[in-house]
Symmetry: C2
């Protein structure tokens, strides 16, 4: 159902702006945790400042979907080992006190994830530095928070929420290498720059490759020479940084496409909220309706940092796709998924196998020398005879025949034996066992794996 | 096994040159028939000359494979109705006397076919005319016979036999529209012109489109403007006639190919005598090895003259092929067969069905205006989303999906209802019932039909 742009935003805000109840519950919890942490730090007598960052601090989180990022920022005089040790000690102690489930994680550097009263907290070590003197990748964050708080009105923060929800629904959200999409901070900057949700969407619909967004006047041509990415959003906190560096060509094109669609037909469906059904039966049905072939590769992978894992999965997709295309297969789309070390790679192909002959177009019959060369070149290859029609010579020629899955399996086996092109962690994972499945067997395999099924649903557009 | 050219010809001659026993048996039989016919004509007192023509008269028939063409040539003063009536009357009377099985047939005009003592005779009416004053298409024949007898030595007549055997084995023999190949007279002229079998084959291997063969000096460029065919052999008996008019582009190219192969590797296999196995199991095996899809159309057709039937079958193949190609199917080869009104048309395809989506290549990501137009043009068509890779935008788009056999059936149904493009006799035949079969079902269907199975064997090169 088409809605007015205003009506659509109103409907989305009803879902994504947190209620007063959610706000006060989180405020009480965060206050308690921060206070407790501050006390622990004070007891230790180390120069560490406890501060809340991220979407919670910036008041741009989506209702019911919040991480609380608690930064513990050290004086630059402290060495990094000490900082990490102290931050983890006080964080673990706090978690014990709150009987929280914890897990050490790693982004640019290690941090502690903890579930306290059903809410996810991240305890992140860093330094308190002046702009431009960053010591770690997170040291910019307090300045980002400050910029957003100073530059966005309350209304604009809700507009950020709508933008995030849109990009999330259209699978364009998340700066991790897995998604190669828009970060939360990028969304905030876009709203700050363009004004509101619709201003961003309308701008996005007319973005051009090498689009530059900046908060101070810049020489765009020079900027484009510095940053090779399709979208360049200069960080107001650090002009040497492109906040949109993670946005890939693919994401850029799909974002323009999604924005164009939303501008032309504002509706909850176009927004992306009702587009894809993830049930196995819907995915199966979509595959049958498309009449394409899918090949899936399944294996368990070393438990490495998601960015490394996804980087290697992406490279694997690229290598296998090239091998398939070299053999004449048309790869329509690809998908990947790697949660908890369980990996899936999927290719959507026009067909799962090829004939063992192919039609080669020869010269026109009226070009005798060319016909002669054509016949001579393939003298013993025709299968069985040359053909002429429409004034042209053709040849049916044999071609080495292999199923798509067989081509993939050969590369996997080679890599397992140490002579193949696949990257390290993927090869390690494959050594532990793998499956190469075709067609509906792929869907059967992922029936129980939510994230893989969602990837297939996206790929096949099951609706 | 490779042989020397001389050895190969020797081996073939052992099979195709008639024995003394065959010759004397035929001489006795033909003498008896002709004598009897002459007596009958004499009794009628009509000016009709009985003469033996064709490969028997020219001493160029293949051992064990001979028709005796008996021409009854009238004085030009007789009208055609009378000629036909008298010829059929005396021929029928003769056949009764010899208790022969008979059948009326039709080439350029009607004639009577009869089996006498196991040998096929054709009793053909015509006129005895001067060169250039031809009244019927067969009136040239006595002059052809005379030319061959005068211009070919005994040895050359055996060379003609080898040439015929080669073209027959490679399915290039027969000037009927069904074969679009080399006639017997054409073979005789080629040997007369080039000298012997190997001279013809070597010349053939280097033929060029618009090749001209003449027995008197000619202006080749002018000749090519008059005759549009790929091979032009001027009839020494009638310079306005191209003896090779039946040779199609396809036959011409395949003849060059076959000749090139034979020159490069003289062997019985290359000659074509051991190339194709026609057993259903061999054909099935060939289909499985090729991994292509075949679609066969089966129906019974009005019992029309073979040339008309094959002309219409050929046109039907052309119409259906165009329809398949329009829908994105790759037609590798086609075949047809129509014996005793039982017709088969076959398409060999890369695949029997296509996916319901296709990959459309868009512009490079670095051409922003083109990307924009591409996204706008297909805004709601992508299935589900545009793709970008290798610096280029792609779109997976839905395409109307229909099996190859469904496309064919739709055209057949339309034609049956009188709104379709298929030719008259074919449509008439289809009205009586038809089958459209796929893959191995086609082979099952023709298991019992020798001629169709041979066509499939040729198509798939089953060996």
């Amino acid at each position: 159902m088409a809605l007015t742009p205003e009506e659509l935003v109103k409907r989305v805000k009803q879902k994504v702006v947190p209620s007063g109840e959610e706000r006060s519950r989180l405020a009480a919890l965060v206050g308690k945790v921060v206070h407790s942490l501050q006390e622990a730090v004070a007891q230790r007598k180390v120069p560490l400042e406890v501060s809340v960052q991220g979407s919670y601090a910036k008041d741009t989180w989506l209702a019911g979907d919040v991480d609380i990022d608690v930064f513990l920022l050290a004086d630059p005089s402290l060495n990094w080992d000490t900082v990490q040790t102290v931050v983890f000690e006080v964080s673990y102690a706090l978690c014990k006190k709150f009987t929280a489930r914890t897990r050490e994680r790693y982004a640019e550097h290690p941090y502690l994830e903890a579930w306290i009263e059903g809410v996810r907290f991240n305890f992140v070590p860093g330094y308190l530095t002046k702009p431009g003197e960053w010591r770690t990748a997170v040291d910019r964050t307090p300045y980002h928070t400050e910029f957003v708080l100073r530059n966005l009105t309350e209304e604009q923060r809700d507009e950020v929420r709508v933008l995030k929800a849109f990009l999330k629904a259209r699978r364009l959200y998340g700066a991790e290498i897995r998604f190669q999409g828009f970060s939360g901070y990028l969304c905030e900057l876009l709203v700050a720059h363009y004004g509101g949700f619709w201003d961003v969407v309308r701008a996005m619909a007319s973005w051009r490759y090498g689009e530059v967004v900046a908060f101070t006047p810049v020489d765009e041509d020079r900027i484009r020479r510095v940053f090779p990415e399709p979208l360049i959003v200069i960080d107001p906190v650090d002009p040497r940084r492109n906040v949109a560096a993670a946005v890939s060509d693919e994401t850029f094109v799909r974002a323009i496409h999604a924005a164009m669609q939303l501008v032309e037909k504002p509706s909850l469906e176009t927004f992306g909220w009702t587009a894809v059904r993830v049930a196995p039966v819907a995915v199966l049905d979509a595959l049958r309706r498309r009449r394409t072939g899918i090949v899936g590769i399944f294996f368990d992978c070393a438990n490495v940092v998601p960015d490394v894992l996804y980087g290697q999965l992406r490279r694997t997709l690229r290598i296998l796709r090239a091998a398939l295309e070299e053999r004449g297969y048309t790869v329509l789309q690809t998908a990947m998924c790697g949660e908890e070390g369980r990996c899936m790679l999927v290719f959507e192909l026009e067909a799962l196998s090829k004939p063992a002959v192919r039609l080669l177009t020869g010269p026109p019959v009226s070009k005798p020398e060319a016909v002669h060369r054509f016949l001579e070149r393939h003298l013993w290859e025709f299968a069985p005879q040359p053909v002429a029609r429409g004034g042209r010579v053709f040849g049916v020629l044999p071609q080495p025949w292999r199923r798509a899955s067989t081509i993939i399996e050969a590369i996997i086996r080679k890599s397992i034996e140490g002579r193949g092109p696949l990257p390290r962690y993927v090869t390690q994972g494959l050594r532990g066992g793998y499956k190469v499945l075709e067609g509906e067997d792929v869907i059967k395999e992922v029936r129980q794996r939510r994230c893989c099924l969602a990837e297939l649903a996206r790929l096949l557009g099951s609706a």
